[in-house]
């Protein structure tokens, strides 16, 4: 027998009450853990999304730049367009290494699913440097480069011909299949820009331009140059770093609210633990007297009571981590529905520091919550304790 086994035997005495208290801590820790995992996952997702885009600046038609950025990142039909002529102006700006024009459109295919087409030029490959293509980039009018999931879903390989989904009587030939990118690119069908403009009846029009700079630190000067030109009146020049910060800023109120909920949950759980242990001390008053009689010091009684609190919080912490892991997919779906912009990929990401932090929070909670009951137990007069309270056997 040792301190831990003595603590466990005390905690097991009112098993249901202990389990309910552990459950309260677990819910609080799970909410904290999910919040932190969401923070981490969202930030990672956004970074990954913007890295995959490969551009330093996004040029989109006038309107809400964040809506436009969301469409560019995830794929959809655009409400307005840029003139192809603006490409020349963007390309000629000082510091621009590559400007890749794109025309995006989304259609519903016969199965009811959405398919996104992107008209692009080979210059796109200088922006999307991480791409691995099996086959070639589209050059002929009917050539198509398929995202990996499109190819897998439709069972298409390089050289195959197929009916273009969402069209009637239009056929394409698979000239290449894109290696998996873990992003929205996997769901797109790329074709030559001219072919897309013809197919979607948008001659001389673009939806957006991806701009890569020779020096990423020169973003401000390029942006001010482009905003100051004549074409700048008709287009939004969006630095991706600003976009990232702004989207993060949009989430601040949500994060603050969730943070407050987690903090309140932790406080309530702490109060619950403290109350449970106080009740336990009251019930065991006579036993505490017996322990003092057989040689327990005030410090021993303090330690024993405090260990029980920490044990409950440690179990609650571990339970909370498990609960957060089990509920992560539900949390992710719930958050994705409510966010103004959500990156592709995992929104809720657990890492070791996150988990260790939550467990530490539970232990700190236990340490603090245990102080009052432990102090009260330790300062019970042995004589009073022997006279009152329920009787041991």
């Amino acid at each position: 027998m040792n301190w831990i086994s003595l603590t466990i035997s005390n905690a097991k005495r009112r098993l249901i009450r202990t389990l309910v208290t552990v459950g309260g801590v677990a819910v609080a820790v799970a909410s904290l853990c999910s919040l932190l995992a969401f923070e981490r996952g969202y930030e990672r997702g956004m970074h990954g999304e913007l890295d995959r885009l490969g551009a330093h600046i996004l040029v989109v038609p006038k309107g809400c730049p964040y809506d436009a950025a969301s469409i560019a990142l995830h794929g959809a039909s655009w409400p307005c367009y840029l003139k192809s002529a603006y490409l020349q102006r963007v390309q000629s700006a000082q510091g621009v290494e590559t400007a890749a024009p794109l025309l995006m459109n989304a259609l519903y295919d016969s199965s009811g699913g959405q398919v996104t087409y992107l008209g692009a030029e080979p210059g796109l490959l200088r922006v999307k440097r991480s791409w691995h293509i099996q086959g070639a980039f589209p050059s002929a009018i009917c050539d198509c480069l398929l995202g990996s999931s499109v190819a897998a879903k439709r069972g298409l390989k390089v050289g195959a011909t197929f009916d273009l989904p969402g069209f009637t009587g239009e056929r394409g030939k698979v000239c290449g299949v894109l290696g998996e990118t873990q992003g929205a690119d996997d769901t797109f069908i790329y074709m030559p820009l001219a072919a897309a403009q013809k197919l979607f009846k948008r001659p001389g029009q673009l939806t957006h331009i991806l701009v890569r700079l020779s020096d990423p630190n020169a973003v401000e000067s390029v942006v001010s140059d482009l905003r100051g030109c004549d074409a700048g009146m008709d287009m939004n020049v969006v630095p991706m770093a600003h976009l990232f910060r702004t989207i993060q800023g949009l989430l601040n109120s949500t994060r603050l609210l969730l943070g407050c909920i987690a903090a309140v949950a932790l406080l309530i759980a702490g109060a619950g633990v403290s109350n449970t242990i106080l009740m336990s001390v009251t019930e065991r008053t006579r036993e505490i007297g017996v322990m003092r009689a057989v040689g327990a010091s005030r410090g021993d009684i303090f330690l024993l009571t405090w260990l029980e609190t920490v044990l409950i919080c440690a179990l609650g912490g571990l339970g909370g981590l498990l609960l957060a892991a089990v509920a992560s997919s539900a949390v992710e779906a719930w958050m994705r529905e409510r966010l103004p912009f959500a990156p592709t990929g995992t929104l809720v990401h657990f890492d070791a520091s996150n988990l260790a932090g939550c467990l530490a929070a539970a232990l700190i909670l236990g340490t603090i919550a245990g102080l009052l009951p432990a102090w009260r137990a330790a300062h019970l007069s042995p004589i009073e304790a022997m006279r009152t309270g329920s009787v041991g056997i």
């Binding site: 027998m1 005495r13 042995p382 022997m386």
Partner: protein, 253 residues
């Protein structure tokens, strides 16, 4: 008949300081506040207990017997007067020093046994060693063997009879090799046969050299003692050596 084995006799004898009283009370007074009223639980009580002596403390309810026992066991401090344990003044000691004294020199046996219901018999006996940081499972098993409870090591207290529980409580009181064993109505909750077995155990313990002070109403136990202190209204009214109480004389409840 339960007897203690030779090795234990030697250990107990070694812890006794020759020529020193096991306990000495000089003018012990204990008062409590009850609202505006001051209650005298003990008034000017003086006596000494020699090493190896077995005494009983008797008297009517409210006479201050248990208060005196708690003072002797350093569970409480007197309002005035002096208490010496093994020649060492106990009044001026801090709470932690009193705890240490209680842990190292005193063993307690209670009327209601005071066993922890969630612990096994063996764990209950080992409980004091957790606090003294000197855990010896072997000694706990040895003591349980000596009190005739070796066959019940893993049982819970609620699986035992009253007499068995009290034997476990006595083994627990002995685990830290105390020189003074204090018992508060140890036979009060037991039937006659169990009570007699516990009395025999106390006598056997006393023969090994351990000093014993017992609060009791039990005539047989009182008869087994070397000496009887009688309290009434918080005062020591008689201190008789080698007193043997007769059933007709009785002891006031």
């Amino acid at each position: 008949m339960i007897t203690l084995t030779r090795p234990n006799r030697i250990n107990l004898a070694e812890s006794v300081t020759p020529g020193v009283c096991a306990a000495e009370a000089v003018g012990l007074t204990k008062t409590y506040r009850r609202g505006a009223e001051t209650v005298y639980a003990l008034t000017e009580v003086s006596f000494s207990i020699a090493e190896g002596e077995m005494i009983v403390i008797v008297g009517p309810s409210g006479a201050g017997k248990t208060t005196l026992l708690h003072l002797l066991g350093c569970m409480d401090t007197p309002t005035s007067g002096q208490l010496y344990l093994g020649g060492q003044p106990a009044n001026s000691l801090s709470d932690s020093a009193l705890t240490r004294l209680r842990r190292e020199r005193v063993g307690f046996v209670f009327q209601h046994f005071g066993l922890l219901p969630t612990l096994s018999v063996l764990e209950n006996v080992m409980l004091p060693t957790i606090f003294s940081r000197r855990q010896t499972r072997h000694r706990a098993e040895e003591l349980l063997e000596q009190v005739g409870m070796a066959h019940r090591l893993s049982h819970r207290p609620n699986e035992l009879s009253g007499g068995e529980m009290q034997r476990v409580a006595i083994a627990r009181a002995l685990i830290n090799s105390p020189t003074l064993l204090l018992a508060d109505e140890p036979t009060g909750n037991l039937d006659t046969a169990s009570g007699e077995a516990i009395i025999a155990l106390f006598k056997s313990l006393n023969e090994t050299g351990i000093t014993i002070a017992v609060v009791t109403h039990n005539l047989t136990l009182a008869a087994a003692a070397h000496r009887r202190l009688t309290l009434k209204d918080g005062r020591l009214i008689s201190d008789s050596s080698h007193h043997i109480a007769s059933p007709q004389e009785g002891i006031s409840p």
